[in-house]
Symmetry: C2
Subunit: 311 residues, 2 copies
Amino acid sequence: MSPGDVLSWIAVDWGTSNLRVWAMGEDARILAAVESPLGMNAIAGDPKLSFETVLIGLINDWLDGSASPVSVVICGMAGAKQGWIEAPYCDVPCKPGDLAKGAVKPDVRDPRISVSILPGLCQRGDADVMRGEETQLVGFMAQNPDFAGWVCLPGTHSKWAHVSDGRITAFRTYMSGEVFALLSQNSILRHSISDDWDDGVFANAVRTALAQPGGFLHNLFTVRAGALVAQGGALVPPGASVLSGTVIGSEIADVLGLLEAGEDIALIGAGKLASLYQAALAVHNHSATPQDGTAITLAGLARAYKVVAGG
Amino acid sequence: MSPGDVLSWIAVDWGTSNLRVWAMGEDARILAAVESPLGMNAIAGDPKLSFETVLIGLINDWLDGSASPVSVVICGMAGAKQGWIEAPYCDVPCKPGDLAKGAVKPDVRDPRISVSILPGLCQRGDADVMRGEETQLVGFMAQNPDFAGWVCLPGTHSKWAHVSDGRITAFRTYMSGEVFALLSQNSILRHSISDDWDDGVFANAVRTALAQPGGFLHNLFTVRAGALVAQGGALVPPGASVLSGTVIGSEIADVLGLLEAGEDIALIGAGKLASLYQAALAVHNHSATPQDGTAITLAGLARAYKVVAGG
């Protein structure tokens, strides 16, 4: 923080393998930000670490001169069973306010902070869970109050949530990122994966995934077979493009089958992965511009802060 | 071999990671059998080993007293590019005799043997390949000349081949076995996998796979989410049953979509894996009794022997 900055509250996104903390001023201004590799797994695996001491180690300087306890609002795995304190899942359908009302306050020894840990979401019918992404959904809904449709958060475990009438009505996790990583690094397909890339081959694999939705486990093998049947001189389709298009295409084809008339698709994320989802959606004539996930996380935490601080 | 046995020819199934050899007498009688872990990978990875010396090491005693060179008929990875000598793929559609005619004879130093290595199969449209299973198909077709439909050979890479009018017309590889192994051992789902098993849970996952053919990457995650959303006292569905039913169910649902009226399904294999495929087929009211794969491999090699020996 710069001299003269007045700390209003502290925003925290505590993931499985990393931790991001922001000092927030008035009007959602970011005064300072810090990151750490001490995600839930690192802390749960080391008896010498506690969530409170890790947090204080990062924000101690920011707290100097604070008169009353500063609100710390946390989303993510800090609320898991193996986290700081369990914040029981909130069931869908739900409204953003329901999530904030479900926040759990752990006992803290440092009198300068008042901590609220937000719950994750669960769905009991078609069993599913999320922790952390729900806060991005809340931020997205605050910025897009009239949105109706499916919001995509690509990742190791991609999340798609259905939003309408100011509620999160359902969601679906797809293991796409983890399946891609395992297949490209640990399966027989790794021999067919290189840095070569072809946008057209990717797009074709995305089309095949929609045309043959049940053929996923077979379509994967074409990554290898495509190279083996290519005859002398024929170009071998780049395996990474086929595999990526097959995996992302399968996920997107499934969600498109759930999209109702008049509904939109939104994409939260950045970098190459978000671009691939954007390209795969474009193959099916859906336009979705990736939106910055960090800004949306902060908007979601700010929305929760207003509730937990009674604002 | 016992005293008095007369060696007629030698049958070999040379796989990626193991090798099986049989001394064959007249009338398809098995005189002796031997197995070795020296599959293609072990030999290709060790400059001190050669296919011929490995083979002779196993069959040397059988060759004593043979007057003319003994025919050795080999199927499997010995014919791969990294094998003994490449036996170029035979394209589908094809007849069993086409495969035998495509056999390649490597030069051998030992005058007591005459070696024929059978080709694999390839499909160029919907790119696919097999090496070894095609000989089981030939054996199956010799025993079931009127069969029309899909023949399933479950495994790390399951193969389904369409057979009609005495031809292999098409085939599809599914990476089911490898995907199951990676997910149950190396993914986040490993925490939800134990020795617990429930036939009803398996059957339900098989049904879900047919009802939601495009939902594979999502249905996988229910292995984990099902445990997390189970409320106090509720039974957690055994993860292995959900995962196995999801993977095998996805494969079977895809093939059932290709099955035409009046066509049958046959299942070649043994042990627990074949039983799971039989159970999954039964969920969809298809009856298929697993048939012993070794006998069928030998029937296929015997059919090829007749052609290569000019019989």
